[in-house]
């Protein structure tokens, strides 16, 4: 009973802290709109996102085409809505890969230490020897260009930071007397991990995930922009900017709006992430 009370109390204070933070609230609202737009794209989109209409090319925004049309006469607003599905999926899948693989490796390294720790952390050092985007680019050069390969490449490039974060959390949790006591009492490794390590790791991992998702969306859009990700006619935001680029003299909307969509998603994820960090873990404020 008492335990339940402290948990709800903690959650309420987190929510309160988040609501007090104006930036986090604005970010959360923008993110919610983008997510709803992406989820309900089939119902909200006024046109088919890949339906060409060559008599209606490069139109400025109008009542029928809210954001105008691209060089094939496709409705930009519909394409941006559907593009949200791709970007959010990329964000979730890449962070999912990094969270599962990186988290597990960090857990093993921190928990068992010794040679395993050494091997895993040296591997991470090697992965960090290239900036994340370049590592993803190099992986793509080996795997070939496709949206799936972008997710794999970006996911892999995000692994090291998750691994380091998890390892650091495990090491700090292990310092606690209650964990030592549990181990002394014969608690199994699995029990210690589930009961003590994971609950302590949740907050930093949530914060890191939301901030990383922002950079993952940026990376993936950049790779698609370079022609190494989504292939036509997929309505991916970065690819849309690349394909429409040649037509900016005729109509700048086709580049402006997909770019704004990327900026808003990245910005809102960063604002929510910063807010979560301040609310969940004041110690991380200056990281």
């Amino acid at each position: 009973m008492e335990k339940g009370q402290t948990v709800t109390f903690a959650k309420k204070s987190i929510l309160k802290a988040m609501l007090r933070n104006k930036k986090a609230v604005v970010g959360a609202i923008i993110l919610l709109i983008i997510t709803l737009g992406a989820v309900f794209a089939p119902f909200l989109a006024p046109h088919n996102p890949i339906q060409q209409d060559l008599r209606n090319r490069l139109q400025p925004p109008s009542r029928d085409n809210l954001l105008g049309t691209d060089q094939f006469g496709r409705d930009l607003f519909s394409r941006i809505l559907y593009g949200g599905r791709i970007s959010l999926r990329i964000g979730f899948i890449t962070v999912g890969i990094a969270l599962i693989v990186g988290g597990t490796l960090g857990l093993i390294a921190g928990f068992y230490g010794g040679i395993l720790d050494h091997l895993i952390m040296r591997l991470m050092d090697i992965m960090l020897a290239l900036p994340g985007f370049l590592l993803a680019l190099a992986i793509i050069s080996a795997l070939g260009s496709s949206l799936e390969n972008v997710m794999i490449a970006v996911g892999i490039s995000l692994i090291p930071t998750f691994c380091r974060l998890m390892r650091a959390t495990v090491l700090s949790v292990r310092e606690n007397d209650y964990v030592e006591a549990a181990i002394a009492l014969g608690a199994s490794d699995l029990r210690v991990i589930i009961k003590y390590v994971l609950p302590n790791a949740v907050n930093p991992l949530i914060v890191h995930s939301s901030l990383t998702m922002a950079s993952s969306i940026l990376f993936a859009a950049g790779l698609s922009f370079l022609g190494m990700g989504a292939q036509p006619p997929t309505p991916e935001w970065g690819k849309m900017i690349a394909d429409n680029r040649a037509f900016i003299r005729a109509s700048h909307y086709i580049v402006t709006f997909p770019g704004l969509a990327i900026v808003l998603s990245v910005l809102s994820l960063n604002m929510v992430g910063d807010g979560l960090r301040d609310a969940l873990d004041p110690r991380m404020k200056n990281l």
């Binding site: 050092d125 290239l130 080996a142 940026l218 950049g222 900017i241 580049v255 402006t256 770019g259």
Partner: protein, 309 residues
């Protein structure tokens, strides 16, 4: 101090070896026959055989790797499959252009980012602070490639002030690529300077300085800024990664003849020796920049300097 530097240099060896294995295996991770892929499906068998032999593809993988590595440490990455030029010569031609662009971006982001951070910290939560920090947040979230196109649209297509591509000499060609590349680092440096200054300003010695009756300008520049700059130096170093990422995209858009554009072209054309050479160049530069920053950091911070005496 020398001991520290030597130890750090030695620590680089295993990391660079790891990256070299990765760079080497790019060619072999690719599904299919590399020779066939490079020459196309309709290549005559004799030509395929020659290419396989010249790349050493008929030998076992470990042997291939050691051959490749022993040449790579002598800076020999082979010849470009497209232009047939030596990869290292191509890199030597293009790297200075990337360095110039990155250097000018760092210069301007320090020149603009640090004053913005100081002003924001001196008047926290003022209108100026809020505008600057929202701007900084947006600066970090803007995709470089989009921003570049917007700059071209505004300053090149509409106003006609600056050229939109190439590097034919003259400062005008630097303006738009530098603006694009400097945005992220300016934003990060401004945010870091602000938070470092805010932390220093709340310290006891600043209160002491105030109670001594020193004027505010002297407190800010002489007492606070000097201490706040230490973390700012590291963030400038951490920008190396962002700058390299930005260089790849910025150079591609502005047709800037640097190694960022070089690797993108090489990946598109499946020119593997060039890809491998440029990856190693990026990894070595990144490692050396980080090392340099750590040494600078140790030099600036007496607390760390003492530790490595």
């Amino acid at each position: 101090m020398e001991k520290y530097i030597i130890r750090r240099l030695l620590m680089l060896i295993p990391v660079l070896l790891g990256i070299s294995i990765f760079a080497f295996s790019i060619l072999h991770l690719t599904p299919g026959d590399p020779a066939l892929m490079m020459l196309g499906e309709h290549a005559p068998p004799q030509q395929l055989e020659n290419l396989r032999r010249s790349l050493g593809l008929d030998e076992p993988l470990p042997v291939q790797y050691f051959n490749w590595l022993s040449r790579a440490v002598q800076l020999d990455f082979g010849r470009s499959l497209r232009s047939n030029a030596l990869v290292i010569n191509e890199i030597a031609n293009y790297l200075p252009n990337t360095a110039q662009l990155a250097g000018s971006a760092v210069f301007f982001s320090v020149l603009i980012g640090i004053p913005i951070g100081i002003i924001s910290a001196v008047r926290p939560n003022s209108l100026l602070d809020n505008v600057a920090m929202v701007g900084a947040l947006a600066g970090v979230g803007m995709p470089a490639f989009w921003q570049a196109i917007m700059f071209i649209l505004i300053f090149s297509v509409t106003l006609g002030w600056f050229p939109s591509s190439g590097k034919l000499g003259g400062a005008a060609y630097f303006v738009l690529p530098t603006m694009t590349l400097a945005t992220v680092s300016t934003a990060s440096i401004a945010r870091m300077t602000r938070s470092a200054m805010l932390e220093v300003i709340s310290q006891d010695y600043i209160r002491t300085a105030r109670s001594k009756g020193l004027n505010e300008r002297r407190i800010v520049y002489r007492h606070a800024l000097r201490n706040a700059l230490i973390p700012v130096v590291t963030i400038i170093g951490l920008q190396a990664g962002a700058l390299m990422t930005g260089a790849v995209l910025t150079e591609t858009i502005f047709a800037w003849p640097g190694i960022g554009r070089m690797i993108v072209e090489a990946i598109r054309q499946k020119d593997f020796p060039v890809v491998q050479g440029v990856i190693m160049t990026f990894a070595v530069s990144y490692a050396l920049i980080n090392l340099f920053v750590d040494i600078l950091y140790a030099y600036l911070d007496p607390k760390i300097r003492v530790k490595y005496k």
